[in-house]
Symmetry: C2
Subunit: 254 residues, 2 copies
């Protein structure tokens, strides 16, 4: 089986305010652009639009850094108010060296700055936090989009994460609904009939990264439609992106 | 700027023998399938086909494990002959715990088993090593494909790597030619005119992962055509995937 995939940004999604429904806004923008969204499609939505709709934005002017944040900020040459927010969103600090603060978020992701940043957030000192539960957000988005269009595509919420040994960031899935995030080939065989060893593909992450290629970081285009990935989609919401988290017991680098 | 990408596997690429030209074989298969390859396209080729063509395969029956390999193999419950090959391809062991052997390869990649595996390699005890210099391989592929078709698409050689904190593997670029592997947005601004902090996108890795979505691990389809990514391509071969390697001095996890 080979596939042909098509990846297209949904143009014209407006700025999202707290309390608005990204699912409805994306459905309306797709409609205006003549982009039909089908059950078999995957819609990849940037974390930022979800965080804004959920009110997960903070003004640094409202943040009072504590002693721990002040100490780390001084050492890393970071804004202590930002460090305070990062620590408040984290379970533990994984690395704090050379200007880099890598944490395990309360949601279980290991990433720089707890995923908090200021790009594409209106306001001079406003930053966006990750959604509290991006899998729940993805399920809600899916259901809102279904209410608006009658279609029930798979939904992925994506954010840009760095990698320890490779430069640059790639978009990965922090939430999903209606798609199996991992395609496990273990136990299946290659064309020689030999077992495929340790082949378990993080398709939700590959889809998130693929969607990023159709977006322009500067324009903030927050939704991308992927066609041709239906073999990984499901009517049920499935396990969510939580299934991509490596447990502490299996982790050699925490 | 938004883009529409199309990703399609090249069907019918035959098994590759040592000394054959993957570039010519891919060109012929694309021709038979009626797939025109243009300068603006990106062709993503799996590491396995390149390794086979370059004779980078080994029979485990020919390998005599040394004492270090025997000790590590016993501890990790791995085949000592495979461990011997892994160590011979490595500069250093990064982790050897819980059945997992993560190394820095002589080519500078940090990955499990030095990228050595047996899937889709004919022969009961035959394994494929990574190409010695996959950037050079990508340049050669590009030039062979140009000789066969008259077109000079960008070329990426992809392999499946695991990630420390996320389950599943994603395909990443281990070699490339004619494409800037990193799209650096630092210094540019978002739509609010604010600087985009630390946004540097590993496009070659996102393209490699996107191509993987159009392949079937079991069929071994070794070449995938991506249309719509021309903004990252160049007539010159560029810096190669080596530009994706984080240096030891910047690495917090080696």
């Amino acid at each position: 089986v080979t596939a042909r995939l098509e990846i297209v940004a949904v143009p014209g999604v407006p700025e999202v305010a707290k309390g608005s429904s990204p699912g409805a806004l994306i459905a309306a923008a797709a409609g205006r652009a003549g982009l039909a969204i089908a059950d078999a499609d995957v819609v990849v939505v940037s974390q930022k639009i979800v965080s804004k709709a959920e009110g997960r934005v903070r003004d640094l002017g409202d943040v009072e850094p504590g002693p721990n944040a002040l100490a780390i900020a001084a050492r890393l040459d970071k804004d202590p108010r930002l460090v305070e927010l990062i620590l408040a969103e984290s379970r533990r600090v994984v690395r704090a060296e050379r200007g880099v603060l890598i944490v395990e978020t309360r949601g279980g992701w290991i990433c720089a700055n707890a995923g908090i940043d200021a790009s594409n957030v209106p306001g001079d000192e406003t930053v966006a936090l990750l959604p509290e539960n991006a899998d729940a957000s993805a399920r809600q988005l899916r259901s809102d989009l279904e209410a608006a269009t009658g279609s029930r595509p798979a939904m992925i919420i994506a954010d840009s994460f760095g990698r320890p040994w490779r430069l640059g960031q790639t978009d990965v899935a922090i939430g999903c609904a209606g798609i199996g995030p991992i395609d496990d080939w273990r136990g299946r065989t290659d064309r020689e009939g030999r077992p495929l060893a340790a082949t378990s593909v993080a398709v939700a992450d590959e889809l998130a990264g693929a969607a990023d290629l159709a977006r322009d970081k500067g324009s903030g285009a927050p939704a991308v439609l992927i066609r041709g990935a239906e073999r990984w989609t499901s009517a049920g919401d499935g396990p969510g992106a939580g299934a991509l988290r490596r447990s502490e017991g299996e982790d050699l680098f925490r």
